[in-house]
């Protein structure tokens, strides 16, 4: 059993490729069939026709500019469309400018059968934060009669987001094929959450690449084995493993491309900057700036600092920036645990107020702690307990 020569290797790789292509076409044909033949007319609205739920919008010709200004709330842009069957229109297309940093956009809808329940799908963005075409027909909530559809804009961005046109049409075979490729090539930037899972593209996909690659490898293996038997021999181990190697390498090519994309993003954001500049360029740049400022008012020796925020991320992150001071970002709720000389660092803590007249912090339970304000800014401050 000699190792396969070049021709055998090409046959093995070719067999995998053919099997993979057949599988892909099969998925596309099955899932795109209805959309391709249904002939349902698309619904399409210009930006100015969308109905906003807040005043943070401005018309700009046929387009609409959206600037969400309320943290924790979303600006909705409702499409003026009569109820329709979900199966008839499964593709969302947007003609819009890149989504500004710190803003997040989603497509939301309610079904006629359950009017109180809002379904949501985050809009996929490419590396330049341009909204990509999205297929909805594989979303579990996209079924039955759709009563209301809207775009939701969250987060507070510095610049408005311009939407020129929104179109909902049928997800035909071509759209399904493009959707699958988009699923695989949608590379989100790294996020700061715990490292628990790598989806391999989008979080929900129509055809998962590892599964498809493996099934194609099995089919190629079966073909190679049959071919070897017909020639009166047996399949050499190397030839037997080749389709699986091809499948692994192809899957890894996708991952390598995603890693490279992420590395490019990192390089663009951070290369050539000092450590402080890189921290300022991160998602918590403002918090970093504030903690650095606060550190200037803390003594050289390690001080006991109580860190408070309504958001766990800010509490924990502020504590990380304030080390090696002796910080406590959790496990306390008011000033009773503090002593004179301790410090309090607050960042986006809505239920604690500073009484400037009496120089005291008023805690959620109404109790007070006399303090000396060291750094104060809207939504943030450093205080020393008296």
């Amino acid at each position: 059993m000699a190792p396969p020569d070049n021709r055998d290797s090409f046959v093995a790789a070719g067999a995998w490729l053919v099997a993979f292509a057949i599988l892909l076409v099969a998925v596309v044909a099955v899932q795109g069939f209805r959309g391709s033949v249904s002939g349902v007319a698309p619904v399409s609205s210009e930006g100015r026709e969308l109905k906003p739920n807040s005043s943070g919008v401005r018309l700009s010709g046929v387009a609409i500019d959206v600037l969400n200004v309320q943290a924790g709330k979303a600006t909705l842009l409702q499409l003026p469309v009569a109820p329709f069957r979900a199966a008839d229109r499964g593709r969302l297309r947007l003609d819009a400018a890149p989504v500004p940093a710190n803003a997040e956009v989603a497509f939301v809808w309610a079904r006629a059968a359950e009017p109180g329940k809002i379904h949501e799908q985050r809009l996929p963005l490419d590396g330049d934060r341009v909204v990509m075409t999205m297929l909805l027909d594989d979303h579990p909530g996209w079924r039955g009669e759709i009563a209301v559809v809207a775009l939701a804009v969250r987060g507070i961005a510095d610049t408005p987001w311009r939407v020129t046109r929104v179109t909902l049409d049928a997800a035909g075979a071509r759209a399904v094929a493009r959707g699958i490729v988009d699923d695989w090539s949608s590379y989100d930037a790294w996020d700061g959450r715990s490292i628990n899972v790598t989806f391999g593209g989008r979080e929900t996909q129509r055809a998962w690449l590892p599964l498809l690659s493996f099934v194609a490898a099995l089919a190629a293996f079966a073909f190679l084995r049959l071919r070897a038997r017909r020639r009166g021999g047996s399949l050499a181990p190397a030839a037997a493993v080749l389709p699986f190697i091809v499948a692994w390498v192809v899957t890894d090519f996708r991952w390598a491309a995603e890693l490279t994309d992420k590395a490019q993003d990192t390089f663009t954001r951070f290369a050539g900057k000092s450590l402080a500049e890189r921290h300022l360029a991160m998602e918590d740049g403002d918090l970093y700036w504030m903690t650095e400022r606060a550190k200037g008012y803390l003594p050289d020796a390690a001080a006991r600092v109580f860190v408070g925020s309504d958001f766990e991320y800010f509490r924990m992150r502020a504590a990380y920036h304030l080390y090696p001071h002796n910080v406590l970002p959790f496990g306390w709720w008011d000033g009773k645990v503090m002593r004179a000389g301790d410090y309090v660092f607050l960042y986006q803590k809505a239920d604690v107020r500073f009484d400037a007249t009496n120089s005291a912090l008023i805690w959620p339970d109404g109790s007070r702690s006399p303090v000396v304000p060291l750094v104060a800014r809207s939504g943030a401050g450093l205080f020393r307990i008296q």
Partner: protein
């Protein structure tokens, strides 16, 4: 100057590990890939033990104190290695004693070595950008690991971390969300920070990138020592290093899980080598990695125990009674010790519903690209190469099966089940085994392919006619092949040699 200090910070523990590995190795056969690969992790173990000792002795954790200690320890190791090499008698290379013929390569696939090497280099380059440039980013890295590194490196003192309730009573010490976690990973970051002269939460994670490269070297080195062909050894290394979740833990460095996965994989590979070669050096490698595991993360204790179990199986698998008695004894001991040491932890995680676990596992193992095709291929390989799994690699198989059982118990019998269904812990727990499993699968496949080749050669060899052959030659030939014969080929051999059944 700062770059030089960072380079020294990276190189010194690596040299320390290398010096001591050479001291332990003596004249045992090895190769540079293996020695330098394991040296990185041995260096992490020794370095952090030295920092602990310096800190607990009350000395400042400064580069001026730590570097001489590290260099002195390295010099001591190098001295012992030098003495041992001088004292040792020249030894015949034990190559001929090895059962596998390196000249045969059933996986000599042209171009594959170059392809995977290029992919590996591309991988290291892409990961390096994130490790070097991105300040500490993922959640746990800055909530529970680097918190300690920041304090120790900036205070130059090994101050204790205590629970927040204690902190509120004004007890001396610092706090974070995991004050009880092992100190090895933050001490490694502390070392890099004091080496650099400031706390830089990007460059302090360079040991993750170094560990990634070292893991690759060690895997390749062990494969070569086991006489796996170059192409397949490279592919096995690539398969282990290409796992997306492993790569992510390097790119977003700062968690302990990468080091746990690497140490476990290297312990398992050393166990595989020891099963084949029974060399003391491999025992040392196993011992070092088993010592490192619990110092990295609490579950490392379980992973270390699992490796020890594999060693016992490999050692006593000839005598099933002794083995059974030993396993029963170990089981009782383990349950008793766990009940004593982890009473509170067990109480905290016991119970829980396993509803939805299966679906989540299917998603994470087979659909999402956490592991490429590992979980599709591994069961097939184990079934195909079951004789090698239970024979040549019996100890490793037992260890990995025990590891699998440990995870299944965690995922279905405890509250960890909830962390499986919300995807928060499932892959990180699996990560600890994944590189070891990838290397194990590749090794199994290699042995299976070699065995098939031998059978094929036996079948293809022209048989001497019964009249002309010496009376005992045919049975002897069969006996030589008997261990490897399978899959119907045994019958073919038997027919060729006059109906004598292959055993």
């Amino acid at each position: 100057m700062e770059a030089l200090r960072v380079a020294v910070g990276l190189a010194a523990p690596w040299l320390l590990g290398y010096a001591w590995l050479r001291a332990l190795r003596g004249e045992a056969p090895s190769n540079a890939w293996l020695d330098w690969g394991y040296a990185q992790f041995a260096g992490v173990l020794l370095l952090t033990l030295i920092i602990r000792a310096v800190g607990l002795a009350g000395f400042a954790l400064s580069f001026r104190i730590l570097l001489p200690c590290v260099l002195a320890a390295a010099a001591l190791g190098a001295g012992i290695a030098w003495r041992r090499s001088r004292a040792a008698l020249p030894e015949a290379a034990p190559v001929s004693a090895h059962p596998h013929d390196s000249s045969r390569d059933p996986f000599a696939l042209r171009g594959l070595a170059a392809l995977v090497l290029a992919l590996l280099l591309w991988r290291v380059g892409a990961l390096a950008v994130d490790v070097v440039l991105r300040p500490l980013f993922p959640w746990d890295a800055w909530t529970q690991w680097a918190t300690k590194a920041r304090v120790w490196s900036q205070l130059h003192a090994f101050v204790p971390f205590i629970g927040w309730e204690q902190w509120l009573t004004r007890a001396p010490g610092y706090t974070d969300v995991a004050p009880h976690y092992p100190a090895t990973v933050p001490l490694l970051q502390t070392w890099m920070a004091v080496a650099q002269g400031r706390f830089d939460d990007a460059t302090m994670n360079l040991p993750w990138l170094a560990g990634f490269v070292a893991l690759g070297c060690a895997l390749y080195g062990q494969m070569k020592l086991l006489r796996v062909g170059t192409t397949w050894a490279l592919f096995a290394t690539y398969a282990a290093l290409s796992l997306p979740l492993l790569d992510t833990h390097v790119a977003l460095a700062g968690y302990a899980d990468f080091h746990v996965a690497a140490a476990f994989a290297l312990a398992v590979l050393a166990l595989a080598a020891w099963e084949q070669r029974r060399e003391r050096y491999q025992q040392w490698l196993i011992a070092l990695m088993v010592c490192l595991l619990p110092l990295l993360k609490v579950p490392g204790l379980a992973w270390g125990a699992i490796v020890v179990l594999g060693v016992l199986v490999a050692k006593f698998s000839g005598s099933w009674r002794r083995l059974a008695a030993m396993l029963a004894g170990m089981g009782v001991l383990a349950v008793g010790a766990a009940a004593l040491v982890w009473r509170e932890k067990i109480a905290a995680v016991s119970g829980g519903s396993s509803a939805g676990v299966l679906g989540s596992l299917v998603d994470n193992l087979f659909l999402f690209d956490n592991w490429h095709l590992l979980w599709y291929l591994l069961p097939i390989v184990v079934v195909v190469a079951r004789r090698e799994a239970l024979g040549q690699l019996g100890g490793v198989t037992a260890a990995l099966a025990a590891g699998g059982a440990f995870l299944v118990f965690l995922f279905t019998g405890t509250r960890v089940a909830a962390w499986v269904t919300d995807y928060t812990t499932v892959n990180r727990a699996i990560l600890h085994m994944a590189p070891a499993l990838a290397a194990y699968g590749a090794l199994l496949l290699w042995y299976w392919a070699l065995a098939r080749e031998r059978v094929a050669q036996a079948v293809a060899t022209p048989a001497p006619s019964p009249a002309s052959a010496p009376a005992d030659s045919a049975p002897a030939a069969v006996a030589q092949q008997a261990v490897e014969v399978r899959d119907g080929a045994g019958q073919a051999v038997a027919q060729r040699y006059g109906g004598r059944p292959a055993e």
